[in-house]
Symmetry: C2
Subunit: 330 residues, 2 copies
């Protein structure tokens, strides 16, 4: 089987590529070759048991979609996106990448399917986000709750979810949109996502560095580790998507916590010294964006389909320490 | 105030233009001029107290959006669309008109707003549809229920709803999407909407002609008259949209009935002779499309905002007899 990963140089993309290389197969089907693309060339995982092509391709450029679909990958992991903060600041860029380039990818698949006389119909797994939801919320959000995003990023993700359902219903591809929780603890330098501080207030103090908290401690988040997020993609790749019926968006499981609880967990790992490195500095823009995000889901459909995540913030910190923590050498 | 109506030659568009001409004002603001456009030139209403330009413009053609927005209309009624049956049969045409042309209209408004230094910000009222919903449903659908369309038409309407919320949130325009019930009784001839038979099984027998019923009598529908539908647009034009907050899609009020109940109402107006003119002829495609449509809503938000519709099917037939029934001359 051939696989394609877009956004392969991103934090979750890299980890997904590493995991696919380590497993060498999807649902017992060996991976024959992989195409990893991003705006910057991804680094190939070491010791993969299959051929890997890493390529720098901007999906927003002309014919990029046709190029990456020409080899007819059996599974497409579509992670490439302009993140929330940037999509909010740059209206045109957000729609150009998150909506238009994605739709061109879907159309390129449709074109290949027509060229193949209907034989080609890949599986498509899309990185959506709980940013498709917007306040006001019930205390716990069920799988029938409306998508009413409060950011352009969330709107773009919700639109692509509708396209995925329609293209899947029409059998262009067999798609699923995974609504990722806030993924923490992200390693290494912050990206421009509004949710970045949820990671930095843990990561930076654990390395003896200061971190800025721009939102109130009461801010609630629905979170999972990068390892759990990668697990969602791997699970979706192996799943019989017919079990989903026509509703192709799944809210992923996670764990509901608050910034205050994050800080207490940090104290258990890094002591008071670590907690003292968190500096409160209100930033209205970040605070407004994250305050419109949802804090607690049932995720009943995803749980029934075997998707799984952590159940405490201590677990999440432990995953970070195992996978990504870099100990500073004095 | 200047107004623009797209889809002005359609059934609801025509009635809306007539109503605007008769009233001459929106919320006590006199209408100074109107631009009525459709793929075929609309017929201007007689005796309008304002200047009217009727024009044949295909919104899917290049620069059409810029052309119709150049005069900076204060209120845009956007009704132009490829209907459900046609959008299902012609994937490309449905997306080209219902999504791409609509988005170009929104971008043209954004461009005019920039040219005006931020002064121009029209009100935009969009004809959405309960086709944004898809089975399975709870018995009564509330305003927080997810949009999960089962047709490309419904997907396109749901996508435009998300764009309207995002463009409104960013103050490009002040928009609202009205999710119209199934509008019955449509005057003839039939269009290519899958819901056409809900009208023809009343309209045709009342004129002594046969009508085909392609779906089971248990089929449930959420319906309102063309007069009520026009009333929704007029109400939305006068409403303070700030009361909506960021959620800019409103399920319109209506009346829940079944085909069997429609037929009994027909009997009260046209007797057994009329009912005998309904010929059952199962059509799987129509039946499948309408069986995925929802039958009963709360429409609580819209009712609280003063939107109103009929409360019995007899009332709906009476509206048809008053407004549109053509008595055949022997």
């Amino acid at each position: 089987m051939r696989i394609l990963v877009t956004g392969a140089a991103g934090m979750i993309g890299r980890k997904l590529c590493d995991r696919l290389a380590a497993e060498g197969a999807i649902a017992d089907q060996p991976i024959a070759s992989a195409h990893f693309v991003d705006v910057f060339a991804p680094t190939p995982p070491a010791d993969a048991p299959f051929a890997i092509t890493c390529e720098a391709i901007d999906l927003a450029s002309a014919s990029a979609a046709e190029t990456i679909v020409a080899a007819r990958p059996d599974v497409v992991f579509h992670l490439a996106a302009v993140v929330s903060g940037e999509a909010e600041n740059d209206f045109d860029k957000g729609y150009a990448v998150n909506l238009d380039a994605t739709r061109r990818l879907f159309e390129a698949i449709r074109h290949e399917r027509e060229l193949s006389g209907g034989a080609y119909r890949p599986r498509l797994i899309y990185a959506s986000s709980i940013a498709v939801f917007g306040a006001p919320f019930p205390e716990t959000i069920d799988d029938d709750f409306l998508a009413a995003p409060l950011t352009s990023y969330g709107a773009q993700k919700a639109i692509v979810e509708l396209l995925i359902a329609d293209y899947s219903r029409r059998a262009v591809f067999d798609g699923v949109a995974l609504r990722l929780p806030t993924v923490v603890v992200r390693p290494g330098p912050a990206n421009r996502a509004a949710s970045g501080f949820f990671s930095s207030i843990i990561r930076e103090p654990l390395s003896g560095r200061e971190a800025i908290l721009p939102a109130p401690e009461t801010t609630q988040l629905w979170c999972a580790s990068p390892r759990a997020a990668v697990g969602f993609f791997v699970r979706a790749a192996a799943l019989d998507l017919n079990r989903l019926g026509p509703r192709r968006s799944l809210t992923m499981p996670g764990f509901s916590t608050t910034v205050a609880e994050q800080i207490e967990a940090l104290r258990r790992f890094g002591g008071d010294a670590a907690v003292r490195l968190i500096r409160r500095q209100a930033d209205e823009s970040s605070a407004r964006i994250v305050s419109g995000w949802p804090g607690r889901f049932e995720a009943r459909r995803a749980l029934a389909l075997g998707f799984a995540a952590e159940s405490s913030f201590d677990e999440i910190i432990r995953v970070y320490l195992e996978e990504d923590h870099v100990v500073a050498v004095a």
